[in-house]
Amino acid sequence: MEPGLSIESGSAIRVAVLPVGGPIPPQCLRDYAALVAQHARVDLASLRPYYSEHQKSPFSHQPWDTGCLRLKFVLGGCVPSPWEDFQSSRKVLAVVGICHLPSSPDLGKVAADFVDAARTYPSALASRCFAFCPTDAQLAEKKSDGIIMFPPSDQKSLELHMLTMIQDLAASLLMEFEKWVLRAESTGTILKTPLDSQSSLGSEEVIKAKKRRLGRAQKIIGDYCLLAGSPADANAHYTTAIDLARLTGDVFWHAGALEGIVCALVVDRMGQSDPVLEDEVKYRYYTIIQLYRRATLQDNAQRVSPVSFELEAALKLARHLCRRELAKEVSDLLMGAADGAKALIDASDRLILYIEIARLFGSLGYKRKAAFFSRQVAQLYLQQDNAYAAMSAMQVLTMTTNAYHVQSRKTSKSDHASPKELGASNSNADSGKVHPQSVVSLFESRWSTLQMVVLREILMSSIRAADPLTSWSAAARLLRSFYPLITPAGQSGLASSLANSADRLPWGTRCADPCLPFIRLHSLPLHPSQRDIVKRNPHKKEWWIGAGPSGPFIYTPFTKGGTSGTSKQEINWIVGEPVQVMVELANPCSFDLVVESIYLSVHSGNFDAFPVSVNLPPNTSKLVLLSGIPTRVGQVSIPGCIVHSFGVITEHLFKEVDCLLLGATQGLVLSDPFRCCGSSKFKSVNFPSISVVPPLPLLVANVVGGDGSILLYEGEIRDVLITLTNAGTVPVEEANIALSGKNQDSVISIAHSTWKSALPIKPGGEVTFKVTLRAWHLSLTDLEADVGRSPTNSRRTQREGINPFLNIHYAGPANQGNGEVSLPPGRRLVVPLNICVVQGMRLVRARLLSMEIPARFSEAHLRPVSDKDNMSNGSDMVHNDISLLKIDPYKGSWGLRLLELELFNPTDVVFDVDVSVHLDGTNGEQTLNVTADAACHKTRIDRDYSARVLIPLENFKLPVLDASFFVKENGSDEPLGSKAATIAEKNAKAELNASINNLISKIKVRWHSGRNSSGELNIKDAIQAALQASIMDILLPDPLTFSFRLAKDGTMAKTVSASANDFSHSTNENACPSTGESVLRCKDPISAHEMTHMEVQIRNNTKEIIRMNLSISCKDVAGENCFDENSATVLWAGVLSDIQVEVPPLQELVHPFSVYFLVPGDYSLQASSVIIDATDVLRARAKAESPDEPILCRGSPFHIHVVGTA
């Protein structure tokens, strides 16, 4: 059988094209052959110049104007067929030699070569030898031996030259045909086919042969007429031949003549599609097929079967009819032909048959049929045991891959780029949800069994054909697509064949088909700097306001709804700043997979990807962070990863794996590679649209002293230095620092001026600014949690989300390009102030002591810090050394209250505690500003010890005792109905409260620990609680103030005016020692046995007149009353008891008296008075229970030191 036959092929003159002389480079040979083969059709009209009619042409009806000669060039020649007598078109009628002169310098040798080559084709009627690219020397040689030189020139003239030569060849062929036909007509020839030669030449046979000879000769003449381009002549001869053959029963030749007549018919009407003609052709050909079959049956006994002619006829008809409308008829013909394959003895015949069938099915559009027969072809090739056959098999199989949907991605690139698919994938991505039916369509025509077989055969054939790239690709496709169907041993085998193929490939070979691992996009972990790109509003100066989440909540209802929706799909990368993409790799196979390098594949070309290498053990998956740096502004598309494994570089697309996983979820694919590796559930991640924006400034914050937590004791105040460095390439031109998060009040101050003065921060520049922190107080729950923990870290606990943040918004300069100013986005840097508050000094309790405990205070202790205190003057200092009792030996101290703070140090460091009461000098109303301040005396509290700190409280009294302070107590008693009164009451109340707070805020307990820890105890609440009970006593002045002074020699001695009064109602005198103020004493000693003139000053602190019954008492150290009638120690002059006096409001009254001390020693004078007709205010102040109670008011004792005269 011969390939490529068609009905018209009976009219083609076969020309063998043979390379002669020295070796011809393949490219040159291809070029020369193409040059020759261009002229497959030579018009008869163009032959005229070369044609000379020697005798009368037998082709009487030759169409010189329209006809043509058809040449069929066979490169390399062909084996002479035994059937060439039967069909003249099978004969090689001309030989053309091709010679590449540069490689064969000796022209004589070339000529000899050509003659030798031409000799193998005895049927050749003409021969030419074309020599290309001659050297000058060769051109100069005489043009002998029939070698036609083609001097080097441009392509066009070369073609023209060749055309001339071919026309010459055709003309000489035509003349030869004429000669041959004339001779055949006159003498006749013996025409034999292999069918005839086999038969024994019995007499009967000889007679039969003689009868048949004429018919056969007519048929051959017809063939030559056809070759000579004269279908009309051919038709006449064929008709004769048919008649003769029918008469002689020469079935085989009858069929041949019929074929010839159809050919003549078709050639004659070439280019016209005529249904009548088609029916004719069809009818004739069915007859032909029948005849051939009959011939086959007749000669069945013989060794040589003409069955191939029957098949060829069927193929010719099929090719003629091969159109979509006639698909059924053609496929029937082809199936019939395929059935005939069994009858073919020669394997190469079968090969050709299958090839032809496959080709015809392919041109019919029956891809799967074509693939099926191609595979049959490949199997026949594989039966031959040589590399060329294997290569052919491989190539044929590769052609089938499209039909079986296992094509290499290299060949299906165009499919991927088809707009339809892109649109589909986009719409899928948009909706985010894929309809199951469309999922199904993704896996169309998946015949996994067949696909595996085909791939395996490709692999086998490519190994045999020594094509490592193809075998790598086939093994990769096989492994990737069908690993669940392959046994572990098979998988390892494929892995090793991959490795073997890679060994033969040059390093760095790329293959279009990915192998393992499976790679899917896991997530795009945002670098903090990426997250913090803030769009700037050009119309808003302070663009940062409301730009970021300001509270502790993830969702804030105040952010704009529109922005959050779109930002999900869009990511901005910044030129020059590294980014990361997390991908998941899976190796579902049973061998160790070594990925030599993997990096992101970027088609947009503006991204530098960094490779990493991964080792995947069997059946595992791994998350890998791939990073890179965007290099240019624009869109970035990352369709997948470039993987270098098994020695070959491949590109793995995310989209493909997504499709695969989608199929796996629907049960359309055998297995999900990620799930079988124990990875988590499938979640589809769409690659967001990423755009690269121009470089922005990048601030990096650094807390000086380490980025760890700042360990602070409760209440500690510390300065933290924060360094901002611009790590970007653009200067920071504006910035804003704000606080957010919890515990914002723990940041006392931020040195805004420092960083503001550093703006703009140039690339690489840095600024350090100070933030003052104060540790907050741990709540009770914190403390309890601490207790429960192990002792080692119990105090170092830190909870998430309780820290304040510094929100730093900053931006670079505006772009000035193109005449318009565009604002690049700003950025936000969040600096968490990791404050770890540990338990520090603890205030166990605060209480106001009622001076049951004896305490001594020296003057030093009581020295006021404030110089404004008008009470202190130089004379004070004289008595510094005198330690005075402030204690009433009987009833505790006078005028002094102590606030006791009990502190406990649970930490493992030592604390020093300072207690100070800050005086408020501006408060002029406070007449008696005596404070205790022990600034120089620190109390050191060792670890796990507690200590008590006493705070003396003195003279925080208000100047006037007013009724309004008691409104609450008296509200029920007094009929105060008027509104004005109520308002006044309220004001007074507020004033009282304010003064309480004022007092409390003045008391500060500071502590130090170590070198740089210092802070303040928060004791406000505790003190308030402690003071609340006796606040009245502390703050309110006594209604009456008594003071003594000497009136000696007419000059006033220094008098300590003191107002310390003990003021209580008589029944409850002892129980309630009044608030003490200062110790009263006479500065100068008084001599005994002298008359001492004294006076007592009584001041009314209320707004009403107070009438009273005043009496003065004197006691010695033993507490004996010295003014007793019976006592002889003190003599006196003047009234000392039952003095009826009346003091006007806010005024003073002086009552003089004289005393005469007989015995030196210490004495104390005390004034007391019973108030007559006490008002409600006084009663309330004295906390009288019943209105009848006498109200007693008592001053502080006045100390007198009496010295003897001796």
Partner: protein, 135 residues
């Protein structure tokens, strides 16, 4: 019973959703492939033929060597393809019809995604029983 028979259900999308070797001849691996190859190739013919007739049963549409492909096309264009070597037209027709009923039952299962593989073992058993009965 036919010595060689290979039954495949091909979905609308040309995916084989069920395949079974139902012949009595001992199984050979490469032959099973060969059967599927033939059936796959026959799809081309079926694709044209299905639109030329009203009948669901297309009888034998293709052949390769001694093996014949008979096809039954459902209304949803799911194709039942049987590769066999004996010609018992009636048996094949009954076989197809009964398998169609089974297939409809599968199809009615709300958990079955049309076009995906039929994995029901019950279906498999039934089909093989039908093959024994009719082929």
């Amino acid at each position: 019973m036919a010595s060689t028979a290979c039954f495949v259900i091909v979905s609308k999308n040309d995916i084989p959703i069920y395949d079974a070797e139902v012949g009595s001849a001992p199984k050979k691996e490469d032959q099973a492939y060969q059967h599927q190859f033939i059936l796959h190739a026959a799809l081309d013919v079926v694709q044209d033929l299905a639109w030329t007739t009203n009948a669901m049963s297309l009888k034998s549409v293709d052949r390769f060597n001694e093996l014949v492909v008979s096809v039954y096309v459902t209304a949803g264009h799911t194709r039942f393809m049987l590769l066999h070597d004996t010609r018992t037209e009636d048996g094949i027709k009954s076989f197809f019809q009964e398998v169609h009923e089974l297939y409809i039952k599968i199809f009615l299962n709300p958990l079955y995604l049309p076009g995906s593989r039929i994995t029901s073992s019950h279906f498999d058993t039934k089909v093989r029983a039908l093959a024994r009965k009719y082929l």
